[in-house]
């Protein structure tokens, strides 16, 4: 089959690789129909996430048709499904607590030592996201093996086209959980840093959950325009001092909740961010936490900090004094996608959530490498890229017979 493989920093290629096979009883194989490039794929592209090996197939936002099932899979051939990006077993302590992205059983024993060392306990498996999270092949491919297919995938009705449901795999539930983590109350103002796909879905979700107003912060004009279209007020951080603007816009109280939908590769020219960049180049810190710091300082006293943005390693100058003295609550984590699939599918079906407004480009899988470059270099024009396997016109979509899997 054809698949997008990671070869090194800023080097991804579409190559012919072996087809996936059923390995374990709960597995299923999908023929991928749509797969998106995620903002967090850029962290892999930029080489910020350790544990990548040349040849790894990327992609954790995908959907497709079931073509093969293991004996314990609950799926049926021909079903259209969307697959959550974290792999969850459904049986462990964490899955039973609905903390699916903390699953104890899906990171294979051989690959889970690294996160146990780094984070204290091993993290769950994730599709196409480095060997820290299991080294599973991702879905930016014609076919993909889905372990624990009895737990993750949601069957979607035929009348909803791919673009409407694809984002159930990651960014829609991630934006939703970010808003949920704000514990929104009547009259609340929520400030959102980053108007990428997660930020935009967080804005939509916060308003749906009853936020009085949402203030969105970015510097890409087209993304700010999308935020405005959703009903948010907007701030271009190049034009105004964000903290002062937020305080003034909220009568000196400050936003009740803040969302860092940016993560470890913050942009911007500020003293702390330049220091972080210099330090990360010399391996003294790994993550640039400019947005995180600004959000903690900007939020009102006793407010809530929600962090869907991806961080991986260590950072310094975390304003722990402000965090403690102001009595803040922070909630964060990889999204427990499984928890939100049914309610969000219902919101989509009822037309309460629009999932298509942010898609700027559709492209064949064959052009994935070019699309990664565009996604990296031109974030203003490329707000969300969806790759289509069927559009891969140059070669037929037939399964190709390749050498046996080792």
């Amino acid at each position: 089959m054809r698949a997008l493989t990671w070869q090194g920093r800023h080097d991804v290629r579409v190559e012919t690789v072996p087809d996936p096979e059923i390995v374990n009883p709960h597995d299923a194989i999908l023929r991928v129909t749509s797969t998106a490039i995620c903002g967090s794929d850029l962290h892999l592209y930029d080489g910020y996430i350790p544990g990548m090996r040349a040849g790894d197939i990327l992609g954790h936002e995908f959907m497709g048709e079931v073509i093969e099932t293991g004996p314990e899979s609950t799926l049926k051939k021909g079903q259209r499904v969307v697959v959550p990006f974290p792999i969850a077993c459904g049986e462990c302590f964490f899955c039973r607590k609905q903390q699916f992205s903390c699953c104890d059983n899906t990171n294979p024993a051989e690959t889970s030592d690294a996160t146990e060392f780094q984070y204290g306990y091993p993290m769950a498996g994730v599709f196409g996201y480095s060997h820290l999270t299991g080294g599973y092949a991702g879905g930016q491919a014609e076919y993909v093996r889905v372990p624990f297919s009895n737990v993750g995938p949601i069957v979607v009705p035929d009348h909803l086209e791919d673009d409407k449901v694809l984002f159930l795999s990651d960014i829609l539930p991630t934006g939703w959980m970010a808003a949920e983590n704000c514990e929104i109350e009547e009259g609340d103002t929520v400030a959102v840093w980053g108007c990428g796909p997660v930020g935009l879905f967080a804005i939509q979700s916060a308003l749906l959950m009853g936020a009085h107003r949402v203030i969105a912060i970015d510097h890409y004009r087209s993304r700010l325009a999308l935020a405005k279209q959703l009903g948010a007020e907007i701030l271009d951080y190049r034009e105004v001092d964000v903290r002062e603007a937020l305080a003034e816009m909220t009568g000196g109280i400050g936003p009740d909740a803040v969302i860092d939908a940016v993560g470890l590769e913050a942009h911007g020219i500020s003293i702390d961010n330049i220091l972080d960049q210099a330090k990360s180049m010399t391996f003294m810190v790994t993550d640039r936490i400019h947005v995180f710091r600004e959000a903690v300082l900007a939020v009102r006293k006793g407010g809530r900090v929600s962090v869907p943005g991806v961080y991986g390693g260590f950072a310094d100058k975390f304003p722990v004094g402000a965090f403690m003295e102001k009595g803040l609550t922070m909630r964060t984590g990889q999204t427990h996608v499984h928890r939100y699939l049914k309610p969000l599918l219902e919101h989509i079906e009822q037309g309460r959530i629009d999932t298509t407004f942010l898609i700027s480009h559709h492209a064949p899988l064959e052009q994935a490498a070019e699309m990664y470059r565009n996604w990296h270099d031109d974030q203003d024009q490329f707000t969300k890229i969806v790759l289509k396997t069927e559009m891969a016109a140059p070669k037929s979509g037939q399964k190709e017979q390749q050498h046996e899997l080792a």
């Binding site: 302590f93 294979p108 690959t111 060997h131 899997l405």
Partner: protein
């Protein structure tokens, strides 16, 4: 921002690491030893005790996991030693010799294998299984697995402790050196696989396609 090559970055990184390490070492040396033999108070399992305490035991490693299955069921599964190769990476085969005795074929360094015979020395159904190698085995080892109820909703606690005695002779010591280092990793990984098997009925694997010609671990990482 000026371009800094990967080599230079690595050099600076290494320099910083050495400096931090040296500072840490000096600070650690300055602190007095507060652990006094005979005055140990911690309620922790034996294998977690620090080297300088009276409770420390050389060559003892251990690991505890929680398994979302009834105690008796987990015990039953472990009681059949011939199933060990399904979740123990280093165990190639276990043969039941009857009366609690088993012959193990265990992977050793450099592609060789070691055989040993163990006998069960303690068997409390649903609670404890302990085994020891025969005195004439190539390596001396003993193991103990305990099963216990945990707080509500936390399933069964399974604690595996292993003890290796260094065998005599130079080659034996070389093997032992690796075996002393490995049991920790092995106990950790074997218990993870056992937990996966008990809770989900399968052992998680990332076996799936890649653009690599082989799965040699020496390939590029960042």
């Amino acid at each position: 921002m000026a371009e800094v090559s990967t080599g230079q970055k690595a050099l600076i990184g290494a320099g910083v690491a050495v400096a931090v390490g040296a500072a840490g070492f000096l600070l650690a040396r300055r602190s007095p030893d507060v652990h006094d033999d005979g005055h140990n108070v911690s309620d922790a399992p034996d294998h977690t005790w620090r080297r300088k305490t009276g409770r420390y035991e050389e060559g003892l490693v251990g690991r505890t996991v929680s398994i979302n299955r009834p105690k008796q069921e987990v015990y039953q599964q472990w009681r059949d030693f011939t199933r060990f190769p399904t979740f123990m990476e280093n165990v190639e085969r276990v043969e039941d010799l009857g009366e609690g005795r088993s012959r193990w074929k265990v992977k050793a360094p450099l592609g060789s294998t070691v055989e040993l015979v163990t006998r069960i020395v303690e068997d409390e159904p649903g609670t404890t299984i302990a085994w020891e190698s025969d005195l004439d085995s190539e390596i001396q080892t003993s193991g103990r697995v305990e099963f216990f109820e945990q707080a509500p909703g936390r399933g069964t606690g399974v604690r595996l402790t292993l003890k290796y005695d260094p065998p005599a002779g130079l080659p034996g010591r070389a093997i032992a050196k690796i075996l002393q280092r490995e049991p920790n990793v092995q106990a950790r990984r074997d218990l993870r696989r056992f937990k996966q098997l008990m809770e989900t009925g399968e052992i998680a694997t990332n076996a799936s396609p890649s653009g690599r010609r082989s799965e040699s671990p020496s390939e590029a990482t960042i």
